[in-house]
């Protein structure tokens, strides 16, 4: 009798342990966890010796997906001058153009060429890649299709030269940890040319030409200290700022003149 009771207890304990293990297995993060994104250096402070920064983006992703990571500022309008030949000989600024609906900052990085990952409709809908930008940016006044294509190409080159646009592929590390969890990591050189403001970080998981998941984060760039004080004064108190600039210039001029008094001869 006593032996049977102990056997029953052991059987129940084993059954409970099996159930608990099963329950834990169901509740644990699986290899097909949702996409996440974190920008590790998301609050960039601009002080007097700021010379750019780095921003890393990392997270977990489903196995076997391709990734597209986009960091961009809000769309805005930018005025530029168009050059053309005048009198058939001299290159001049001939027309003021407005690039409408264009992000001032646009960095995109992907595991494969974005154009091979998604169809054109999805690229344009999500503003992914230079090709999509060329379809979403409008030029005012309106240009011929050939001129528009040329100007948009030049606009992207112009922004790339200013370190405000970049498109690259292959610089995203994807690995799977011992528990079978895939993760990704990439690091961007953040240019000092990127002005203060809020930037959105968007990560797209792509499989079989479809976006399977997305995740967002953000990067905030703000001025602080002397840089902020001078910038605010220039914008909000231009008169006083101008008088201060003139005062400092005059003082510097007289000051240096006084120092050089011995060398410059006398009146």
């Amino acid at each position: 009798m006593r032996m049977n009771l102990t056997l029953k207890k052991i059987t129940l304990l084993i059954a409970a342990a099996l159930l608990a293990t099963l329950a834990l297995a169901i509740g644990a993060p699986s290899a097909s966890a949702a996409l996440t994104a974190k920008a590790n250096h998301d609050d960039i402070k601009i002080n007097y010796n700021y010379n750019g920064s780095t921003v890393s983006v990392s997270g977990i992703s489903d196995p076997g997906v391709d990734l597209i990571i986009k960091i961009s500022s809000a769309n805005t309008d930018e005025e530029l001058m168009r050059k053309d030949k005048e009198a058939g000989l001299l290159w001049m600024n001939v027309e003021k153009l407005t690039m409408e609906n264009a992000p001032n900052f646009y960095y995109i990085r992907s595991t494969k060429d974005v154009d091979s990952l998604l169809g054109n409709d999805q690229l344009v809908a999500n503003n992914l890649g230079y090709g999509a930008l060329e379809e979403t940016i409008e030029i005012k006044p309106q240009q011929t299709p050939e001129m528009k294509k040329q100007l948009l190409g030049d606009y992207i080159k112009y922004k790339e030269a200013g370190k405000l646009y970049s498109q690259s592929l292959g610089d995203i590390d994807q690995k799977t940890d011992d528990a079978g969890q895939p993760s990704y990591y990439t690091i961007f050189d953040w240019p000092y040319q990127a002005p203060p403001g809020e930037y959105s970080v968007e990560v797209y998981a792509v499989k079989d030409h479809e976006i399977t998941d997305t995740a967002q984060s953000r990067v905030v760039v703000e001025q602080e200290g002397v840089v902020k004080a001078l910038s605010d004064m220039a914008q909000n108190n231009g008169g006083l700022y101008g008088i201060a600039a003139i005062g400092v210039s005059l003082t510097a001029g007289f000051g240096v003149g006084f120092v050089f008094k011995g060398g410059g001869g006398s009146h």
């Binding site: 601009i46 002080n47 007097y48 010796n49 700021y50 010379n51 750019g52 530029l80 001058m81 168009r82 050059k83 053309d84 005048e86 001299l90 290159w91 001049m92 600024n93 001939v94 003021k96 040329q150 100007l151 030049d154 606009y155 080159k157 112009y158 000092y192 040319q193 002005p195 203060p196 002397v226 840089v227 902020k228 001078l230 910038s231 220039a234 914008q235 231009g238 008169g239 700022y241 101008g242 008088i243 201060a244 600039a245 003139i246 400092v248 210039s249 005059l250 510097a252 001029g253 007289f254 000051g255 240096v256 003149g257 006084f258 050089f260 008094k261 410059g264 001869g265 006398s266 009146h267």
Partner: protein
């Protein structure tokens, strides 16, 4: 060491603006030019936005021309009386020039007129100064400097009949007060159209039209440029918010010292040598502008705004 410029929104090695200031300040003290026609393109080349480059340069010129004027004043090279008359004319000419630019912009060909004015004025002034200085130096070498009594021209006689004849003791000339005012208007008009301080135009006007000695011309030109640039700096800061204080200070460190060295250096050179060096500088800038205008640009787009 890098410094972040709060208005230009850019970062720059501090040695770059100091070196630029030193070089342009040296030319300023040497020739009596503000140097805006050199400094603004150089700043743009180092990544400063065109509008900020032009506005900040004017703040820098205030410091350099103060330093230069002070140095030349101690050397007895500033004709304040002539400077004031030129300033009066320059102010009126500047106001007229701004209106001319408005009309040209409305007509849609402002850029063409500005660029062509630049090329023609720089080319004519540079070539004339160069030829005239070379001839003067040749004459000096052949000891032909024995004063030949020159017949007074009709124009010269007519100018002497103008009212308000005034003696400018420092320059050793007598002119009607209307003459420097007229030339001030002319230079102010062109300077406003071209978007520059006008020193490189004012120097030849004072040398060839007002017959002032070269060393007094340099000091007096700097005095006039100082006041012009004070006005421009204030207006740019007040209306466009494009003066970068940090950049201006770095440029000033170099330019104020450069202006002093230039003034000392200039004392060791003869007037004709100074003129020929300025002529070469002006012609070099002309060639650079003509090259830019004729070569096909890499991009058909450029920044809106900007200085001369």
């Amino acid at each position: 060491m890098y410094i972040y410029l709060p208005v230009a929104h850019t970062s720059i090695n501090i040695l770059i603006p100091i070196a630029l200031g030193l070089s342009v300040g040296l030319l300023s003290g040497l020739f009596g030019v503000g140097g805006g026609f050199l400094m603004t393109p150089l700043l743009i080349m180092f990544g400063i936005p065109p509008t900020v480059a032009a506005a900040t340069d004017s703040a820098q010129i205030v410091g350099a021309s103060t330093s230069g004027t002070y140095a030349h004043w101690r050397l007895g090279n500033v004709d304040f009386k002539m400077g004031m008359f030129l300033l009066m004319g320059g102010f009126a000419g500047g106001l007229a020039g701004v209106q001319v630019i408005k009309v040209l912009k409305a007509m849609g060909n402002a850029d063409f007129v500005i660029k062509m004015t630049y090329v023609v004025m720089l080319g004519v002034v540079g070539t004339y100064m160069f030829i005239e200085s070379v001839n003067a130096m040749r004459r000096a070498r052949k000891k032909e400097l024995v004063v030949k009594p020159k017949a007074e021209s009709g124009l010269s006689k007519a100018l002497k009949k103008l009212p308000f004849q005034t003696e400018f003791k420092k320059s050793g000339v007598t002119h009607s007060a209307l003459l420097p005012i007229f030339f001030g208007v002319f230079v102010g008009l062109l300077a406003a159209i071209m978007g520059v301080g006008g020193g490189f135009l004012l120097v030849p006007v004072m040398v060839y039209m007002l017959r002032m000695p070269m060393h007094v011309v340099v000091g007096t030109s700097l005095f006039q440029i100082l006041f012009n640039c004070i006005e421009v700096t204030f207006l740019q800061a007040y209306t466009n918010h494009t003066v970068d204080f940090a950049l201006a200070i770095l440029l000033l460190i170099g330019s104020t010292m450069g202006a002093q060295v230039g003034a000392i250096f200039g004392r060791k050179l003869q007037g004709e040598q100074l003129k020929i060096l300025l002529a070469i500088l002006v012609l070099a800038v002309t060639v650079k502008i003509v090259t830019e205008l004729t070569l096909t640009p890499a991009l058909l787009l450029g920044a809106a705004g900007g200085g001369g």
